[in-house]
Symmetry: C2
Subunit: 366 residues, 2 copies
């Protein structure tokens, strides 16, 4: 077997040691005589996996005792509706900061729920210019509602390759953040957030699991009946075992989290991610042959987006890169050009291989 | 490795050939140089898996062209809310037939949504006696609403071990059925249902995927805005790729469906399941030492429930059975006693091993 170099935006590459560990126990978990998928989610074998995955997340992210970690289903997308159902009562307002496509969808799903009696959505900031986003807003630009029930932001934007380097200050208003594409990529002060959520398929594990980190005292705000599966209070009370979770997904997540810890935890991962991104942006800034998309102060460490000065060369670049084993570099259609997603599992050597290919490509086409 | 005999109620045993196939490709899918979990859900490799799993479900269940097969998330539990949001407009009534705990939860989740403006729930039948269910209702017992928007039933009840042998006739009213615990266990006329749904973790594959089979013309009934992730119209239009599904779950499901086909399809599986259940019920009827729970005409072919004439022996039975490798036989607390879940992946030999143990146990304790 030869592993290709994978720059997919998500589902993304997973660390090989985590995959190998999961594969080795895929048919028999421990000495239990059955796969983890065949264990009851209420039996001690699966509960060990479940609790260990939650404990590792708490440890790696230094989650304070004020917050609880949940595993849910339906991706970040279902959270877009679940958040206002829980936290946006009739007559109240929530602030949304629009920095990319997913932030837009989060706001429009919340607006849609007006028909089911939830409160109002205020767009507190929007950096869209001619259907593109090249930056996140400054604090001064935000028009926050003083008595909002929450402020919603999107930490990192996979499509446009922008990222908050410092998060907005939301004052006393709970800050709810979609960190689907950069959770576990850098150190984080969880205590500053009312809620953090993330689809697993970038830095956490396979798709089909959503990680939610919610401040417990925020949950008292929800007083009306909502579907039980969308009720954070129930999932907190039942420790994410109200219904059967994706047991195979959480089993793989446990292996990925263990790998992060083996690598030295978030400090080491953070430093490596900064270094990888710095190398790639240095190449993009070296020559006018490349045209980096995001503003320097808003550049994502996870998704690096750029065009070529002559756009006709972009298709050639992708074809030749794929031929030498550099996969997943085609930019999203909303930006065009090229995108390298360099999540946690992408090693520095893969970034170096891409840079070497880029230098060679410029030489041949410059 | 030695595989234990697994009578778990769910997540349940999976066929070993399917597990082995998934394990063999767990790190490298085909010759793609990466795991299926690392492929984009919009790339051709994953799409092949996705489409093949849907095609196999359509073929095995002979799904007519009037119906579409969807993969969703959140288990049957999230469907309990999703169904009324889609199909129960204000001012209308839906009929629920209560034959066990999950049917009860389905009805109570629908009632809860009155607060979000959905219509009324009518209990059209309820076979509960002293907090227990021992049978499903007869057609004559049902009090169906003539202009109901749908009738909801639960095909098989894992806790009490009852099952509809013939489904109620709902006339022109769409019949929506939770088949979580017996889908793919027997031949089925899908054309008779407005919708069928099932959590995957009994006969389909790992937990974390929900299969929905919905009649397309029923979807026009939903006209108000609901969360996109709960909107069947969107999932039909996007072919279950509106958001990132559980790609690893659907990959394992593809292997399980392939195994069912290799075994001879639903005719062969159906015959084997009838035979397995007949052997076990024959043992239960052979001696007054055992006290089968369900009425003979409502007996489940998937979950066989019984007590011992002297309940003190039940804990002894479970302990000794576990010691000889017969796992998962403890009954649900609502019934007590014993339960053997004998889903598709449970071979006839496992049922025979249980029967042999039972005969020996009676001899020693009778």
């Amino acid at each position: 077997m030869s592993r290709v170099i994978n720059f997919n935006a998500g589902p993304a590459g997973l660390p090989l040691p985590a995959l190998e560990r999961a594969r080795d126990e895929f048919i028999e978990f421990g000495k239990s005589g059955m796969s983890i998928m065949e264990h009851s989610h209420r039996g001690k074998d699966y509960e060990g996996v479940h609790n260990e995955a939650i404990a590792l997340l708490k440890e790696l992210l230094a989650v304070p005792a004020t917050h609880e970690v949940l595993f849910m289903q339906g991706g970040a997308h279902l959270q877009f509706s679940t958040i206002p159902l829980n936290f946006l009562p009739p007559g109240k307002t929530a602030d949304y900061v629009i920095t990319g496509n997913w932030a837009n969808v989060a706001a429009s799903e919340a607006k849609k729920l007006g028909a089911l009696g939830v409160g109002k959505v205020n767009v507190a900031g929007n950096t869209e210019v001619e259907k593109k986003f090249t930056r996140v807003p400054t604090q001064a630009e935000l028009k926050l509602t003083p008595d909002a029930t929450y402020v919603h932001t999107t930490s990192n934007n996979t499509i446009f390759g922008t990222q908050f380097q410092a998060f907005p200050d939301t004052g006393a208003v709970p800050h709810i953040c979609d960190m689907s594409s950069d959770i576990l990529s850098r150190k984080l002060d969880v205590s500053k957030f009312g809620m953090i959520y993330a689809g697993a398929q970038k830095n956490i594990g396979p798709s089909g699991v959503t990680v939610v980190i919610v401040k417990k005292d925020a949950l008292a705000r929800c007083t009306r009946p909502i579907p039980s599966m969308l009720d954070y209070r129930i999932h907190v009370k039942k420790e994410s075992l109200y219904n059967t979770p994706s047991t195979v997904g959480i089993f793989v997540i446990e292996q990925v989290l263990q790998w992060i810890q083996d690598e030295g935890g978030l400090s080491a991962i953070h430093a490596r991610n900064e270094d990888k991104a710095a190398r790639l942006y240095a190449e993009l800034d070296r020559t006018a042959f490349w045209r980096p998309h995001a503003n320097p102060d808003s550049r994502s460490r996870m998704n690096v987006t750029w065009r070529i000065h002559n756009p006709d060369l972009e298709a050639v670049f992708i074809k030749e890169a794929t031929a030498v084993g550099l996969n997943g570099l085609k930019g999203h259609r909303d930006v065009g050009g090229l995108r390298a997603s360099i999540y946690n599992a992408c090693p520095t050597e893969s970034v170096d291989a891409l840079i070497a290919f880029m230098k060679d490509f410029e030489k041949r086409n410059g």
